[in-house]
């Protein structure tokens, strides 16, 4: 097994049209790991949620740039979605299911979906500075075969 990491970086204007491109591109990149079709669906969902949040919340449907890095390292997929938008005042509150600052149109499900679909994620945010969400997923097959994956780097 190779230890070299591989990555792609995508950057695009904050437009709803680009959300579909972003999740598809992320899934195509992810398919170089041994993910099942269900797992690729999970990755599509998580990326869709993170990018949609950048478009509708960070930039409030106005101009802005969304940057995505997808990386394969140590047998796992790491995806970060970054914006330079308005930021999240209380990240712990925002992560709770059904918590939303736009209750007319939104259900507050995005972070909940990300949590269900990925193995883990964390959010760094600064009000007025922007938000960066980092999401990690390892193929379930690899989890079964080598539970102590970090030892493979010896």
């Amino acid at each position: 097994m190779t230890h070299a990491s591989d990555y792609v970086i995508m950057e695009f204007p904050s437009l709803p049209e680009n959300v579909g491109f972003a999740r598809s591109a992320a899934a195509v990149f992810a398919s170089r790991l041994d993910f099942t079709l269900d797992e690729l669906d999970d990755i599509r969902m998580a990326v869709s949620e993170a990018v949609t949040n950048a478009v509708v919340h960070a930039y409030e449907n106005g101009p802005g740039i969304v940057r995505i890095t997808a990386e394969v390292a140590g047998g796992q997929l790491v995806i970060t979605v970054e914006d330079r938008g308005k930021g999240i005042p209380d990240v712990e509150w925002a992560k709770q299911p059904a918590n939303t600052t736009a209750p007319d149109e939104h259900l507050g499900l995005g972070f909940h979906f990300i949590g269900v679909c990925m193995d883990g994620y964390d959010v760094e945010s600064r009000v007025g500075g922007g938000t960066r969400i980092r999401m990690v997923k390892r193929p379930a097959q690899a989890k079964r075969q080598e539970p102590a994956a970090s030892s493979s780097s010896q």
Binding site: E17, L107, L109, F113
Partner: protein
């Protein structure tokens, strides 16, 4: 995303195709709300979703928004034909408690 509509008595039947996300959800919302506004007699909505390959929280939000719209008119919403990823999204969101899902259009119409 594609959407085509037909009217059957008091029921609007919408066929959806493709991916229902933040981009297509606004088209979907506008199409259904427009049809309801034009025809005050309409009160039920049936969504034929066999051709939908992806739904995220924005899509679920748009569907629940239509549920509110038909409820306000004293009507009902029924959904038909969920592909596996779409069904998983519905399950994750918890909306299956509030939305009736069917295998066929006939079954959905009978449930109204």
């Amino acid at each position: 995303m594609g959407a085509s509509m037909k009217v059957l008595g008091e029921t609007l039947i919408v066929t959806l195709d493709g991916e229902l996300d933040v981009h297509s959800a606004s088209e979907f919302r506008a199409a259904v709300t427009g049809a309801f506004d034009e025809r005050p007699r309409l009160r039920n909505l049936v969504l034929l979703m066999h051709g939908v390959t992806f739904v995220d929280s924005s899509g679920i939000g748009a569907i629940l928004g239509r549920l509110k719209e038909v409820s306000a008119r004293g009507g009902r919403l029924a959904v038909v034909g969920l592909q596996t990823p779409v069904e998983r999204a519905f399950a994750m969101s918890g909306v299956l408690k509030r939305i009736s899902v069917h295998d066929s259009e006939g079954q959905a119409l009978a449930s109204l």
